[in-house]
């Protein structure tokens, strides 16, 4: 009998939870705020769904409601991606300066 591809995705999901568990425990507490902002940024990879929705073609090339929702989602996710990574960068930069001071 063939295995439903869903099971493979579920396996990836479950194993990723475990990876996340161990990786996050190793994050130093002083970097917990950057951890939150970077997880925020990466969870915006949901933008891939938004792009598909925004580009979903139709016969007469008009924007459908589905397209428009996709476009809005693209903007929101883009705010998060740029904002999240850049603010993380900004924070981590401050941790760097200290090393130079020493």
């Amino acid at each position: 009998m063939e295995i439903d591809p869903f099971i493979f995705r579920l396996s990836i999901f479950i194993l990723s939870i475990f990876i996340g568990y161990y990786v996050v425990w190793s994050v130093t507490p002083s970097l917990h705020t950057p951890l939150m902002s970077v997880t925020n940024a990466i969870s915006s990879v949901i933008i891939v769904g938004a792009i598909i929705a925004g580009l979903a073609g139709n016969s007469n090339n008009d924007l459908t409601i589905s397209n428009i929702l996709g476009l809005l989602a693209i903007s929101l996710a883009a705010v998060n991606i740029f904002g999240g990574f850049l603010v993380t960068q900004r924070m981590l930069q401050m941790y760097k300066k200290k090393k130079k001071d020493k």
């Binding site: 990836i12 939870i17 130093t28 891939v48 580009l55 589905s66 397209n67």
Partner: protein, 464 residues
């Protein structure tokens, strides 16, 4: 690009996201980690464009919206003051939640674009995944909005409770399950809209009963939710990058919530069910008027510190509110010039989000190897001459150790009272968030400095 090839690229970006989190295990590797994160995101976005292949005229719109969002995001990232980080993160969570909702709705309206079947006959598994993604996304959205408003001070930080709240929430949760079932069996869009409406309502109701100082738990929890929402959508879209990321973010937020709860010695459910302090308040303020308090001014404080050989600084939310981190660093610089050893002690729940104090100190150029966590530094208080408590309160309250009646009994606290003398910068004698009096105020060796944290620190520096 073939579906298999793009799936491999999505896997690669998933792995890069794991490395991004892994990098945060130390400040040295963290910037590299962030770079991996950006790389992973870039790959995911490019692959998505390539895999669609034939572009409708919508491409130009997509790029425009991407650019608009990106510019807004970049602008916010450069402008935001570090003290506003909790609000920013809460606001960002709401965006993740809302985009999950929008993608789910879009997929529901146009399932062909996602290979999920056709409207009215969407594949059962996809429909369930979509409902989960949309519901969790909606909860994340409205919950984060409330958290944002509370942190921003637009909405009162005090818990809002009403009778039958828990029962009502439970009924709403059950109705979500029921609506998902109805949606799957009838494919009727009405149930989908109702599902969304109920989810928005739950997010709102879940956060309003939670008070300001429990925000570290709330933000971490919403962080976790935003991950689960992304994972739900990832299953719908059969996208590995999204599934991996969702799982990572989900467990990251869950662990942070756990750490924050442990920092307050409370169970997760206790925090979520809310209303902390509300029932306890009556016992607290009885005899505080009668007890003498020693209060001093900047000169006294400067005198004490000048004669100390080691000082431990205990920052709290008050420091963030007063934006006192730079003034504090200047004071410490002056102390160091006088050969006084200075370290910082950070309680896990100090501030309004995990690691809040660390970021503020980092902003003020405090070297991160002078900053210690509770377990690392707690034994040092006994050997230190002065503890300088700036804007912290409940996290120093000895009642947590020796008064079983206290609502915070059992919470790990900083042993500030073991120092030879304690300087307490505070605006008034009012009890902290937990609504309980702090015995430390009345101790023989405590000097209260009633003033704005920033102004007091500046004045002390002048007197050193």
């Amino acid at each position: 690009m073939s579906a298999n090839l793009s799936a491999i690229f999505y896997l690669i970006s998933g792995v890069l996201f794991i490395l991004a989190l892994r990098g945060l295990s130390s400040p040295e590797t963290s910037r590299q980690g962030n770079f991996f994160g950006i790389l992973g995101m870039t790959i995911a976005i490019i692959v998505t464009f390539l895999s669609i292949g034939s572009f409708s005229s919508g491409l130009i719109y997509v790029l425009i919206f991407l650019l608009i969002g990106g510019l807004i995001g970049a602008f916010i990232a450069y402008k935001i003051p570090m003290t506003a980080m909790p609000e920013l993160v809460a606001g960002f969570h709401s965006l993740v939640g809302l985009s999950a909702v929008l993608v789910a709705v879009s997929a529901f309206l146009n399932p062909e674009a996602f290979n999920l079947g056709s409207p009215g006959s969407i594949k059962l598994a996809s429909l369930i995944e979509m409902s989960i993604g949309a519901a969790v996304g909606a909860i994340t959205f409205s919950g984060s909005i409330i958290a944002f408003l509370k942190l921003q001070g637009i909405m009162s930080g005090s818990p809002i409770t009403f009778r039958g709240q828990h029962l009502f929430n439970a009924l709403l949760l059950i109705s979500i399950v029921a609506l998902t079932y109805l949606l799957c069996s009838t494919q009727s869009s009405n149930f989908f809209w109702m599902l969304l409406a109920v989810s928005f309502l739950i997010g709102f109701l879940l956060i309003i009963p939670i008070g300001g100082a429990d925000m570290p738990v709330v933000i971490s929890m919403l962080n976790s939710y935003s991950g689960w929402a992304a994972a739900g959508i990832g299953f719908t879209l059969e996208n590995t990058a999204l599934i991996i990321t969702g799982a990572l973010v989900g467990s990251s937020g869950a662990i942070l919530s756990y750490i924050m709860c442990k920092g307050m010695n409370r169970s997760f459910f206790n925090v979520i069910l809310g209303g902390f302090g509300a029932s306890e308040q009556s016992t607290s303020s009885r005899d505080k008027e009668h007890r003498p308090v020693k209060s001093g001014n900047a000169e006294d404080a400067a005198f004490l510190m000048k004669n100390a050989s080691s000082v431990i600084i205990v920052p709290g939310y008050g420091m963030a509110v007063a934006q006192a981190q730079h003034a504090l660093r200047e004071m410490v610089d002056t102390l160091k010039k006088n050969d006084i050893k200075v370290t910082y002690a950070i309680h896990p729940v100090a501030g309004r989000m995990p690691g809040h104090m660390n970021v503020l100190l980092a902003e003020a150029n405090v070297p991160y190897d002078e900053v210690f966590e509770l377990e690392e530094i707690n034994n040092d208080f006994a050997n230190a001459d002065v503890a300088f408590v700036i804007g912290a309160n409940d996290v120093t309250n000895p009642a947590a150790k020796n008064d079983p009646q206290s609502p915070i009994y059992g919470m790990p606290v900083l042993d500030v009272e073991k120092c030879k003398s304690v300087l307490f910068v505070k605006r008034s004698l009012s009890p902290g968030y937990a609504g309980i009096d702090n015995d430390l105020f009345y101790k023989e060796n405590t000097l209260m400095l009633f003033a704005d944290a920033k102004k007091m620190t500046e004045d002390i520096t002048k007197n050193l």
